[in-house]
Subunit: 455 residues, 2 copies
């Protein structure tokens, strides 16, 4: 009896790759938490306690970067290495790692493995996935290495050879994986005016947030006209959101002494550019997030909610989801029945999917924000805006904070941990993992249409 | 030359009923503002000034109820009657009024008049619109009269015969039109424990927010099974949102001394019920909105954003829009290609329309909130949550406030005025009014489909 049930469970699992992904990520987080919970991981020599270890591990695996303790001060080198490994595995995606292992030990990739990877990377075809995985691994390490070299030009003179190299590697990986962890102690606030640090981190973050399929398309086709529709939408949306974020940040914060008010004009430009890059979804900051005006904080919340592009290390509802929604809205307003862009028509099911991602995303953010505002009502120094900021930062796996993370209650820590987890896997993957299968329809019968008034 | 251009403009207008609606409402608001700007409208005998007169007129015509001055204390009887007339005209819809006038003077209803009304009432067929208009007018006055009689049972003993009748009529109209204006001075806070006031106002608000087509369907078909899909969705969503609002308010505010904490259990139930009714989109309140916890305020913001049902005196994105979106999300999660409910399939174009309403609604709220948080940065006593509350209240033509309306700057007043206007006409009507016509497609050519990854 038990054996049959177990077998049924296994078959169920096989038929639901989303569930495998969810369980795999969860397992990785628990392994990480167990290691970070060891006394040797904390500089004090005393265990941090399981809730905080779990929080930190989830934050690393989900490449979020929210921290309840200062990463630089609290952890030993062992702890920091554990975090870095979790970031790298989380960033590459555990199935990409699993595929790598399979390749290394010569195991054949099964159809099921491919199905899981398809879910993870959000690809449409099964073919070419192995090639894609190899591409992902190699390009990740090459890009991170180049990034580390650039950072070393600043960090080695600043911190000495050994520590400089270690800092360069750590922050290159953290940036490319959009993890946002730093071991400097105040993120990039010390380097607010350093062009090399700002641009290296920014470029790593942007590259990490574009998604691997975009690189491949760009390197293979070279001309914008020849790109896939997906690539075109990712590029246009990414550039659009960067420009929007840059301009609003620069204009609104121009005279704010708590952020860029006291910087030179050139440094204002650098800092505004950096702050437009990082909400999507890097989590570094070169100016204090608590010091921004409410309007800027709200803009950052929206950018964090949108996040990066699919199949990347970024979180959020994704640039393409936002792009498809915008196009659909414009089509409705213009009275058009087809949603078109760049001479192509976007299928209805994609628009429905985008609507579902937006809807579930909003629902998660609303529920978590409301719950936190009830459980964290002792945080008198922090406003509702700060709590919303924290929630969306977790959902978008961004890692920016207005400063309240260390003051969260235990319940608050667990809620944010779960939010980071849902945010990394994506609302739809979570929903697919636990949704009841649709009932089989009898034949081709469809219900009759009936109209309904909306709006 | 000028004549030809004028003629072109007129033809343009005829072909765009949404534009006629927008201009008609705008004209009504300006007429109201001119009257309220007269010295005789203000109790002090001095003109209130045009910006505040415009704000009040827009708030009345758009049945919102946000006020920069206390309605009871500031206005003369003349001013109050002007406001009441604006509410009644705004509530019935100016085109319904125009049709009434046409009927009275025996003018034939033209196809163009019908097209405009179709836009206004959001109906699908042109036939039966005249019948519907007659039905709207008669039922409005009958329901308001009955409501006034019930209110008189409390208000006449409280305020004497003459003033009691005047208060009963004013608040019955204000409630049924979902206007939220009161001439008591503190909304319904004096009557927080009065069952007759609470239930009369609540029933008027709910009836006013259902939409006329729902009444007609219910009176004609009587059984739920026989109702139109539209009616079923309106009823299920309305009841669902009421229950949700009631439970959350009761549980969250149970011990809050600033709202219902000090009331008896029975009064707690009454007050929670009342507060679950009014965000959609009545604008009365029996407990202080500034006193609610952040979580409750956030819930009210969401209820205000959703609002009432189409073709009613209510604002917001509408219950059916929310219902269609929920159904579409569930369908995507379950892997279904058809969006179905009650044995009917919802057409794709309706789902697209719902997405557009949600998208434009969110965009408006985001832009207005950000702008206000910049222009009103002198309001140190009011938080970002209060500003969001104010914005959504205006957009949903609700009229609830955490208390900052009288402290808005002139720019803030104008922004809220415009937001109320957009909220009353609906985001899509506004968009239709000003959108460029779609270019003519050559033949039946459609662009080829191309997929794109979202979420
Ligand atoms: K991050
Ligand atoms: K109202």
């Amino acid at each position: 009896m038990i054996k049959i049930e177990l077998k049924n469970r296994m078959n169920e699992l096989k038929s639901n790759p989303a569930q495998v992904l969810v369980l795999g990520f969860a397992a990785l987080i628990f392994i990480g938490a167990t290691l970070l919970n060891l006394p040797m991981a904390s500089a004090s020599g005393r265990s941090i306690g399981f809730i905080d270890a779990l929080f930190t591990s989830a934050s690393a695996v989900c490449v979020t970067g929210l921290v309840v303790v200062n990463t630089a001060a609290h952890w030993t080198i062992f702890g920091k290495i554990v975090i870095l490994v979790l970031i790298q595995i989380g960033g590459l995606g555990f199935m990409t790692m699993a595929t790598l292992v399979s390749l290394l030990i010569g195991k054949k990739i099964t159809l099921k493995d491919r199905l899981i990877m398809q879910e993870e990377l959000n690809q449409f075809t099964l073919s070419g996935l192995v090639k894609l995985t190899r591409y992902i691994i190699i390009s990740t390490f090459v890009i991170e290495a180049i990034g580390a070299v650039f950072l070393a030009f600043k960090f080695i003179p600043e911190y000495g050879t050994l520590q400089g190299i270690w800092y360069s590697i750590f922050h290159a990986i953290s940036a490319y994986c959009n993890a946002g962890f730093d071991i400097i102690g105040n993120s990039m606030e010390s380097f607010v005016t350093s062009p090399i640090v700002n641009f290296t981190i920014s470029i790593l973050v942007i590259l990490g947030g574009l998604g691997y399929s975009v690189y491949i398309d760009m390197t293979e086709n070279r001309k914008f006209k020849k790109f896939l529709l997906h690539t075109k939408v990712v590029l246009v949306m990414s550039i659009g959101l960067l420009v929007l974020g840059f301009l609003v940040f620069l204009i609104v914060e121009y005279n704010n002494p708590q952020t860029i008010g006291n910087l030179s004009f050139g440094s204002k430009l650098i800092a505004s550019f950096f702050q437009s890059v990082v909400p999507r979804t890097a989590g570094f900051n070169s100016v204090s997030m608590a010091g921004t005006t409410n309007a800027t904080a709200f803009l950052i919340i929206i950018l964090m909610f949108i996040g990066g592009s699919p199949g990347s290390t970024a979180g959020g509802i994704k640039t393409t989801t936002m792009g498809v929604i915008l196009l659909a809205v414009v089509a409705v307003v213009r009275g058009e029945t087809d949603v078109e862009i760049f001479g192509r028509r976007i299928p209805n099911e994609i628009i429905f999917r985008a609507l579902a991602v937006l809807g579930i995303g909003l629902l998660i953010v609303i529920i978590v924000t409301m719950t936190l505002s009830l459980t964290e009502n002792n945080l008198e120094d922090y406003s509702f805006l700060d709590i919303t900021f924290e929630t969306v930062s977790a959902f978008g796996t961004v890692g920016l904070s207005r400063g309240l993370t260390p003051y969260l209650s235990d319940i608050g820590r667990i809620i944010i941990t779960i939010t980071m987890f849902i945010g990394r896997l994506g609302p739809l993957t979570m929903a697919f993992a636990f949704a009841k299968k649709r009932r089989e329809k009898k034949g081709l019968y469809r219900y009759p249409e009936e109209r309904i008034t909306v709006g």
